[in-house]
Every structure is written in C-alpha cells, then in structure tokens.
Subunit: 147 residues, 4 copies
C-alpha cells in the first residue's frame, strides 16, 4: 500500500489528488486556497521523485523552499470526490530559485493554472543557493525549447 505518488513523463510531472470534505466550503466547491496546498504536494512529490530529500536538508540546517510569488487563475470549480491531476513543469532554474507552471486538471478540463516561484532559503529565511546536487537533478527536468 503506497501513499499518493506522482511520476515524471518527459518534461512534466503528474500528481493525483482527490477532493475531500476538508477541501470544500459551504458554497459546495473546493476552497480557493486549497489549490495552493495541492500544488505544494505536487512540487514536494516532484522533488521526491527526483531523489531530493527535503526533510534531511532541513534537519541538517541547509535550508528549505519558500514560495515567493504565485499567480493563480481559477477557471472551473473542483467538487467533492473529484479526481484531479496536478501537472507541473519547471520553466526556469536560477541559482536560488525555480519557476514552475502548474495546472490542476480534471481529465481534459483545466480547473486552475498556477505560476509559482519557489526560493531556497536558509533556516533564518535568507535566500541561499540551491544545493548543487539538487540543481543537477532538477536541471534534467527543466523544460527546454518545446511549447
């Protein structure tokens, strides 16, 4: 029995999400802020699949990713029991940050689009160069020319 796990195909990472009661609000649809939680789960899963151990790095005092910017468009509502997939592409990899595009899909329907910048920071919150080994792992995944 495995917990939810995503996978990489080409330059995209796919991560499955199901919508639970905790995700909805009284308007009957998923609460807008929870899309950011799903996207963070997907990014954490992407790192895990790439072989990056965030917890070990944090416990060793190296640092942690912090979201510094996000632009979100909610197109259609997600509802209880919906089976969603978060698609993630890396658009840009800098020394201390990465820019990613994430799409929350329900089958072929685009529910939300998220453009996000995650910055690596020290435990005190100052920007820090991402570990070289991580950059090398991550570089393979960055979208090159296509689309």
């Amino acid at each position: 029995m495995q917990p939810p796990s995503g996978k990489i195909e080409g330059s995209r990472h796919f991560y499955p999400v199901r919508v639970y009661f905790e995700d909805t609000d009284l308007s009957g649809i998923a609460y807008h802020a929870n899309y950011l939680k799903w996207c963070e789960r997907a990014r954490s899963d992407l790192l895990r699949v790439l072989g990056i151990n965030q917890r070990a790095a944090f416990e060793a005092g190296e640092g942690v990713y912090a979201v510094s910017e996000a632009q979100i468009k909610w197109r259609r509502p997600a509802r209880l029991d919906d089976e969603l997939v978060v698609e993630t592409r890396a658009l840009d990899l800098r020394a201390a940050s990465a820019r990613m595009e994430q799409r929350v899909m329900r089958g072929e329907e685009l529910l939300a689009q998220v453009d996000i910048v995650a910055a690596f920071v020290t435990p005190e919150g100052r920007p820090r160069r991402q570990p070289d080994a991580w950059r090398r792992l991550f570089e393979q995944f960055v979208t090159k020319d296509e689309e």
Copy 2:
C-alpha cells in the same frame, strides 16, 4: 494515474497518507488537528470502496455524515514525508450513526488512535436514519466477534 485509494481486507480498511508541509507546524511535527482530516479522508474512502456515493446523496438532499464524538490519543509524532496508513474498523452500526475505531500507523508504530461516532443528518442538521442500501453495504464491514 489514480488518486490515493484504500482497500478493505477482512474487517479492516487501509488508507495511505503522506505527510506534507501543510500538515506540519513550527514544532516540526504534524499539527494535531490534521489527524482528524486524515481519518475523515480514510472514512470517505471506505464509503467509496463500499460503493456509497456521498456526493450524490448530499446533492439529492438526502443527508450527510457529521462527526458527533471523537476520542483521540496522540502517541508519537508524524513528520514530513512520513508514509502513514490509517486503519479503520467499524465497531457499531446503529440506525442513524456508526462508531469506528481508526489507527494512524507508521509501519508497525501506532501514532494515534481515534474512536469516532459519525451521525447521518439531514441537510438541516437533524439526525436521520442512514439509507437502507448504505446500511446493507456497511453491515458487511462491521467487525463481528473478533478482537
């Protein structure tokens, strides 16, 4: 690509959970209230596996489950990236409610034990008899003599 799904073995339902940043607090471990979210995901999954469609019943105005009682013991902390399993057993099935025992496990370690009563209520919040078809489906799962 399937979202997280549990399974029934004998009189137990097993549901996998991974711990994400959203689950932790600054003390470094999972925030206590989030165990209730994991347990609710597991119960919703149990209903789904049994063939019960909670969303259709709610949208048809029939009713919804509401937690009326819980007793929780947190034994050991869960940490980022931990792979957990929520084990659920139904201990008692009444006309309008069900009592369940849930255990949050990390491998062989018991992290938390939750005894919970979920009551079926009308959209206005009044107790209501569970649908007969649901009771029949659920009855098969109720723990009989053992343990």
Copy 3:
C-alpha cells in the same frame, strides 16, 4: 467580548490577524497558502462592515463570491504570535466582479501583497451580476483617484 473585527478608514479596510500554530509549518514560518485565508477573512469582514450579509444571500440562493484570480508576492515571513493587519482597497468594481489589493502588514513592514479578483457566481457556479444594493454599498469604498 467581540470576535475580530476590522474597520474602514477612508478608502482602506483594516483587519487584524494573529499568527497561531495552525498557521505555521516546520520551517518555522507561516505556510504560504494561509495568507489567502487571512485575506479572505479580511474581505468577508469588509463586506460585513459595509452591511452586506453573505450568508443570507447564499442561503437565499442568490449567490456567493468566488476568487477567480490572485497574484501574490510574499516578501517577508510571518511568525508565531505575530500581530498582523490586512489592509484592503477595492481597485475596480464591475457588474459581476471586484478587484482588490490587499497587503499583509506587520507594523510598517510589508509581508505580502495580494491582488485579487472576486467574482459573484450563482450557487451553480455561473457568473452573476452582484446584487444592486451590494454594488451601491461597495461603490462608496472603491478607491477613486488617489494613489
């Protein structure tokens, strides 16, 4: 004993927030998605202060606001026990939506800036003209020429 309540001064609404354990994650700072919750509390409070009853409108089947776009910049981290203020200005009022700028402040420090579009939708999720009475109440608050 009053629950947290904001106030309008000129063309700005101010809403106080304190940071609790639930808001933080293991990196020791407030989890990024929770800023959207604080901003939603502030917008709900703004409507309440203006005399708009969201719950009555929803229960009467008229509709509800749904966030359709957000652009967020997280500048500095918020920490446990911090006393924050969410400042809200309305930048644009359309027939079926409103655009607002929100700033999460700790004293004079800007922690995050959020530009948000909230659309009024029917219970089924389709765009709908905001109630005229609400528009009239809201119009007084929209930032005119200044800044």
Copy 4:
C-alpha cells in the same frame, strides 16, 4: 487595532472566534476538525494572557506543548459568520502536562465540548517538566474546588 484577544474572568478564559468560509465545508457547517484549531487558538491566547511566551521558549530550545489526548463532543453546528466564544478551564496541572476543559459557545448554546491534555515536550518530542515560572503562572488559573 488589536488582533483577537481573550480575557480571564475568575477561573475561566474566554476567547472570541468568528466563523469564516475556510471553516465550513460543503454540508454548510463548520468542519469538525476546525474546532480543534479554535481551541488551540484559545489555549495559546490563555498562555499569552498569563504572560507565557511560547515562541521565545520554543526558539530557546526549551520545548513546546503537544496535545496528547482529546475527547470532543459536537452538539450543534456552527455556521458562517457565527460569533463564538471558546471558554477554557484548567482542570489539572501536572509536572509535564495540563488538562483543560474547553467549551465552544454561541451565546448560551453549547456547540462543542472538548477535554484536552497538553503535554510539554522537548524539541525532540520527549516529555519534559513545564518551566517552573510557567507552572506558577498557570497554577493561579487552575480551577480549585468549584464545579
């Protein structure tokens, strides 16, 4: 402009809460796990009012409170915009833990009752004697003979 703050009267602490969209789920009422968040806010506020600085203690490596047991009864639902008060009494103060009774009230109506044990633990999660200064501050608040 002050963030939400509670107060002590006799042997009770009172803390105000308003119900926001984030607190509700599609059944139209507050999601059950969120009562634990409200109760935690109330306990943190109680410590603050008593003069205990949890954040400083945590940052100094002394320790933090972790909830080890809770018994909860949800009696009536809370709804959007409801103004609630969490009443907290300390029932028992031990070397490394405290037992408290909390009631979530809407005016005279009891919405939920929570009996909770909070244990002081080291940053590594091991039980630890509460700081003496804290115990002295807390002792004044413990309910003696009454009720």
